[in-house]
Symmetry: C2
Subunit: 200 residues, 2 copies
Amino acid sequence: MRASTQEKRTRIIEVATELFIDQGYKDTSLDQIVAICGGSKQTLYRYFSNKEGLFIEVLEYNIKNSFDPVFQLAEIQNESLQLTLETFALNYLKKMCANPLVGLFRIICADFNKHSTIPQSFWETGPLRIHQSMIAFLKSERVTHSLHIEDAELACAQLLSLIKLDYYSMALLGLALPDDEQLAKHVKKAVATFLKGYQK
Amino acid sequence: MRASTQEKRTRIIEVATELFIDQGYKDTSLDQIVAICGGSKQTLYRYFSNKEGLFIEVLEYNIKNSFDPVFQLAEIQNESLQLTLETFALNYLKKMCANPLVGLFRIICADFNKHSTIPQSFWETGPLRIHQSMIAFLKSERVTHSLHIEDAELACAQLLSLIKLDYYSMALLGLALPDDEQLAKHVKKAVATFLKGYQK
DNA sequence: AACAAAGTGTACTGTATAGTATCATTTTAA
DNA sequence: TTAAAATGATACTATACAGTACACTTTGTT
């Protein structure tokens, strides 16, 4: 295999990512992608089975790049519990409410919500894995010695929902989110409510 | 005006609602709508400026029909506070996570998230009005005599998020939700966490 | 009855795009 | 150097659909 082959594949995926997110799935034509990448449509079709196949690879590529850093965040465990959660929360919130995740989520729910395994596999490789990280954290001694958590799965879901609030829905709709300072304030309140709800 | 004119308009809107939700915006053609309604494309164009204009009316029609019952629910105030909230929560959750709201939300975020006032007006006439109802309730004596709520707006957002959890995202993706019994259990826990987080 | 407004059926225009085919050109490996 | 594989440029096929034009029919009104 040529040295440039993998680079080219990656380049196509990156250009496709940008266009899909910017214009939506249906409104992004393969001709457009090729025009920006350079090369020809034949090459694209040699790499990817078809438009849907390309999108699936776009998805895998971005899920990997976007969620992995969040997993790491979920494992930070210094300072106070409150501060740990606040730090995680702000990063989690900003990652979830921004591209590429928001743009790709829009496409999955609008263009693949029926007759496709994409939503299920997106859910399992993305959000669900974040949940698992957080559940493990909530079960750790670090947490259990100051909070009374009977059902870690539930507590995790509640914590993440308190963090996201309606900001995720607003991001999906393309509405403007508060600035960083406001978000930081919000996140503190979310963590506070969570801690009080699960205090011993 | 003919007696049937208003009925015909409504019929077009209802058929369009179903097709838009079922197939998405781009995949629903006006020819299809006309074929099911009967009548001709000219008539459709006499009633509605174009496809987008039709969708906007579809939206208004369904927002009105779907959110209004939820407002009423928010005003139920009998029995215990806990029971009142649980009752509201279950109905709110089921309404939010089902069609037509889910299907229309998908379209708004995928097909109108840019260069359109649709998201903003959807947000204001839908979710925001529910928030306002709930904020008023949380400020009522009924609530303030048993809970300590400094910021009713925040408390409202947190409560509704605890109720929705990730079920709304799952519904958008077309993933299956738990059955009614499970949802009822979930809702009790959401209300419990909220009450504990805001207890005096 | 006569007229105008509302509605129908059908065909058409213009445009867009997924996917394929062909053939020339370049790159790589031996 | 040479042959095979990869890539590129371009054109083509088939299809779909928003929006328009137009001739004709129905309905309500005067």
